[in-house]
């Protein structure tokens, strides 16, 4: 057990322990106990920083399913370190914040259990080298996100949001799985590093582009990229700490991680460049455009997260062009986009985490998040105002905050890409800086909206009635730590650059030498360059547009409601539900008779059909043993009972005749020297008869049903066919020649399974898997009978009272 695997497992172990110990723990201590996990993991991970910065990587392999090449391989390099630090760092702050945010009456053990599950899964995603293991953890993050969004499951909106996020992210995940399998088909390995190593070999393969698109689908759905972003605003039904953690700082960045991770594999392709850049830019624009429209603070932040994720995504796309161009002193400049992406990734987690916590405080203290009902909170919540102000300024890209640095780098990257002449950038490349600039103006506007509509202006009278006051100190600690980072990163960006970002660049561009250009020196002031003019333009135009907002806000009403993405999503879901329901209802109509017909027809078609098709039927009477007289007698008894059963007038006669058949079979087993079967058949027959007798009072009186002749005829035909099939199989088994008989194998039962009774060694050893599953099925059937009867009884009770 090395430290890497311990890091992944600790949250899971803790999550498993919580349900066991939470009763013994006082409620208010649960959060503090849980807090120990991310804090200690964060501290352990920080010890990796100097070693990773030197260029070391750490990898350990544990064999899991070696026969399928699926091994539990942990791999820590610069890229995974960034993400793991975010996961544990923001995780610590969020848990600390939750301790104060969540009421003691909530089911805290569930909350922390899911949160730890998520943390472990997310760490698993970033530390896994094996793509199958990565996929498993990937889906686990979707599941834990589902559980957390539906944490307040008594609300309809929470459940709907959880289902939507699950549907979208898991569909993407399945697409990604298909992409991974294609990668395996091409490269013959599940190891990410080996796949990266074999890029030259696989890039010409026919499956390469399909795999690329499928994997991108996984990344885009997870990172809420257009048009899959619609789940993220709905996911805001989760408690605010969850939104801060999963839906802004970590989980939604898993897609970013995946794109960064796979850049060395696919980065050289034009499809990759345009898909990642294009989708990123559209998302950036669409997110910020929609954020302006909303009135709910959390909805604004949700769309702002969508847009910022698009920004990071587009930067990764721009950076991938360097992979295509290969390393040279003139092309290394294009890697700066990736550098900016990683930088902004960290910055976004700091300011957006703080902003979400700010909204949580407003919601908690004032009781609403609607900006139409808020205003003038500056004097009531002065500390919260500071958080909002710094967070929003950083998001808008203003100095002296870290968002300014990465935003400038973003502008610089969009401008420099227009100088290139590959991938037909020359023709439409000019759109890149334009969209980036327009989206940034919109970003600026909603940042101003958040601050001014919430904190400036006059206090609404109904707020004052509630006598609001500043949040407790504990709730302010976490956002202030993040705000502190926002400022600290602005003043010391290069510490971050050297120790954290540079090693990550080496993971994205493994073939590039570690030159100084790979980790450029970050300046707050770099002269009068296009990016500076762009920032100034953003501020001026943004202020102007904000001032005259009421004149242009009408454009949001142009879009027809019917064609919004959400409406389309809803239509797809409801139509498919209705369609599957109508199809299912057509054959699951509740008539037992019909179900029997399905079963018997498929039995006859499949079994008799196979026998006929393979011409496997052969009957050789010469091989059969001579038939004795008493055997004939038994056969006639059975025939008599069977025929009489058809004409039985009362149920008791039918039950008894059925018993005659069963006992006669048991006699045959005795005659053919199969004591085990005979014994079993006898007891089963007795128990069945007893069961019949107990059920007797529920059975309706047997009476001739008015069935049309046509149906009677077809039913009779089916019965005859089934009987004929069974009889023919019985006759044919002796002469079956397609396979060798396996009975010789069982004759060694004593040597192989340590038992002299072949029947039982088959049941308990050779084919124990069947037995085990049968036991489970029997148990489930028993439970089914029990619940059917008990539930019916309970329902009756309800109706009576």
């Amino acid at each position: 057990m090395t430290i890497e695997i311990a890091i992944i497992l600790t949250p899971f172990i803790m999550a498993a322990l919580i349900p066991m110990v939470y009763r013994r723990l006082q409620r208010r201590f649960i959060g503090w106990v849980v807090l120990v996990v991310p804090v200690s993991l964060f501290l352990i991970l920080t010890t990796f920083i100097p070693r990773i910065a030197k260029g070391d990587t750490f990898s350990h392999t544990y064999e899991w399913i070696p026969s399928f090449n699926i091994n539990f391989t942990t791999y820590i390099d610069g890229l995974s370190l960034i993400f793991s630090l975010l996961i544990t760092g923001v995780g610590s702050l969020v848990i600390l914040y939750s301790n104060f945010y969540l009421s003691m009456k909530e089911s805290l053990h569930h909350f922390y259990c899911y949160l730890l599950l998520f943390m472990g899964a997310m760490l698993g995603v970033v530390f896994s080298d094996n793509i199958m293991v990565l996929y498993a953890f990937w889906e686990l993050t979707s599941v834990s996100s589902f559980l957390l969004i539906a944490f307040w499951h008594h609300r309809k909106a929470s459940r709907a949001g959880a289902r939507k996020s699950m549907t979208i992210t898991v569909s993407g995940g399945v697409a990604m799985l298909a992409g991974f399998l294609m990668l395996y088909a091409m490269s013959g390995t599940y190891s990410l590093r080996e796949i990266i190593g074999s890029v030259d070999r696989i890039s010409e393969h026919a499956l390469f582009i399909p795999a690329l698109i499928l994997i991108l689908l996984g990344a885009f759905t997870k990172s809420a990229q257009f048009p899959f972003h619609i789940w993220l605003p709905d996911a805001m039904e989760a408690p605010t700490p969850v939104s801060a953690y999963l839906h802004s700082a970590t989980m939604v960045k898993a897609g970013i991680y995946l794109v960064a991770r796979f850049t060395p594999v696919f980065g050289g392709e034009m499809v990759w460049f345009w898909a990642v850049t294009g989708v990123g830019l559209v998302t950036l624009f669409w997110g910020s455009f929609n954020a302006v429209r909303h009135n709910d603070l959390k909805a604004i932040l949700a769309f702002s997260t969508v847009s910022q994720l698009g920004l990071i995504m587009s930067l990764l796309g721009l950076g991938s062009v360097a992979v295509h161009l290969g390393y040279s002193t003139s092309t290394v400049i294009y890697t700066q986009a990736t550098f900016a992406a990683l930088f902004h990734l960290i910055n976004h987690s700091t300011f957006k985490g703080a902003l979400f916590m700010m909204v949580g405080i407003v919601d908690h203290e004032i009781g609403t998040r609607d900006i139409r009902r808020l205003g003038g909170l500056m004097s009531i919540l002065p500390f919260t105002f500071t958080i909002a102000l710094i967070g929003c300024f950083s998001m808008a890209g203003l100095p002296p905050f870290n968002g300014f640095l990465s935003k400038e780098m973003f502008f610089a990257a969009t401008v420099s890409i227009t100088n290139l002449d590959v991938f037909s950038i020359a023709s439409i490349g000019i759109l890149v800086p334009i969209i980036a600039w327009v989206a940034s103006v919109l970003t600026f506007i909603y940042c101003v909206i958040i601050v001014s509509k919430t904190f400036l202006g006059n206090v609404k009278p109904d707020i004052l009635e509630k006598n609001p006051h500043e949040a407790p100190l504990g709730m302010l600690v976490s956002p202030f730590v993040l705000i502190g980072l926002v400022i600290a990163i602005f003043f010391f960006p290069n510490t971050l650059g050297t120790y954290i970002l540079k090693p990550a660049m080496a993971s994205v561009y493994p073939t590039f030498p570690a030159s100084a250009e790979m980790a450029p020196h970050i300046h707050a002031w770099h002269g009068f360059k296009p990016e500076l003019y762009m920032t100034i333009g953003v501020i001026l135009v943004g202020l102007l547009l904000y001032r005259f907002m009421k004149y242009w806000i009408k454009i949001y009403r142009i879009f027809p409601q019917y064609w919004t993405l959400n409406a389309i999503y809803e239509r797809v879901i409801t139509t498919s539900e209705n369609m599957s329901e109508s199809i299912t209802k057509r054959y699951m109509n509740g008539h037992l008779m019909h179900y029997f017909i399905y079963i018997y027809i498929s039995f006859v078609v499949i079994v008799a059909g196979t026998f006929l098709y393979l011409e496997a039927f052969a009957w050789n009477p010469g091989k059969d043993a001579p038939v004795e007289n008493y055997e004939l007698l038994l056969v006639f008894i059975m025939i008599f009972a069977a025929v009489a059963l058809l004409f039985a007038k009362s149920r008791i006669t039918a039950v008894l005749l059925n018993g005659v058949l069963g006992y006669a079979i048991a006699f045959f087993f005795v005659i053919f020297r199969a004591p085990d079967l005979a014994l079993t058949q006898l007891v089963v027959e007795s128990v069945t008869t007893a069961l019949y007798l107990i059920c007797f009072k529920y059975l309706a009186e047997l009476k001739p049903e008015p069935t049309p002749k046509r149906i009677k005829l077809s039913n009779g035909l089916i019965s005859i066919l089934v009987g004929a099939t069974v009889t023919l199989i019985g006759l044919a088994v002796m002469n079956y020649e397609k396979f060798d008989s396996i009975s010789a194998y069982f004759e060694d039962s004593y040597k192989l399974a340590g038992g002299k009774n072949i029947v039982n060694t088959i049941l308990g050893d050779f084919r124990a898997f069947d037995t085990m599953l049968e036991v489970v099925v029997l148990f489930i059937a028993g439970l089914g009978v029990y619940t059917l009867i008990k539930l019916k009884a309970a329902k009756k009770g309800d109706a009576d009272t």
Binding site: V687, A690, G755, A768, T771, A793
Partner: protein, 140 residues
């Protein structure tokens, strides 16, 4: 279902003992002779059902205070657990093993892990059988 039948009661008193003994015998003889977990469980279960049919629920329940749903659940757990257990000894899922061991009083006996598996089967059969019959007959 209350049957007040002196003859049945008297006969059952003796017969149940024989049935239960037969069940236990069948269970243990299973490995080398006819018998085994399923049939043993079935015989034991039918013996218990016979008791329930003859006497009323309260009387039997006082003497056998088991929740038969739990017996069945425990059986499933035992069967699947013994199957999973093998993988901790670096053997494939569901591997069984056996050995000869000399006990102090009863002498040398053949011990095998199949017994655990079969015990699971037997308990599931008993539990399910009794649960089904009891819940149907309890339902008014």
């Amino acid at each position: 279902m209350k049957i007040n039948d002196v003859i049945l009661r008297t006969v059952v008193k003796g017969v149940v003992f024989i049935i239960l003994t037969l069940g236990v015998y069948l269970f243990f003889s299973g490995h080398n002779a006819p018998g085994g977990g399923f049939i043993g469980g079935l015989v034991l279960g039918s013996g218990i059902v016979l008791l329930y049919i003859t006497y009323d629920l309260e009387t039997v329940h006082k003497k056998m205070p088991f929740d038969f749903k739990k017996v069945a659940g425990l059986g499933v757990l035992l069967a699947t657990g013994s199957a999973i257990g093998a993988i901790f000894f670096d053997a494939p899922f569901l591997s069984q093993t056996d050995l000869y061991y000399t006990f102090p009083v009863i002498g040398e006996k053949h011990l095998t892990t199949v017994t655990i598996f079969e015990a699971g089967v037997a308990m599931t059969v008993i539990g399910t059988l009794v649960t089904i019959i009891l819940s149907i007959s309890e339902d008014e």
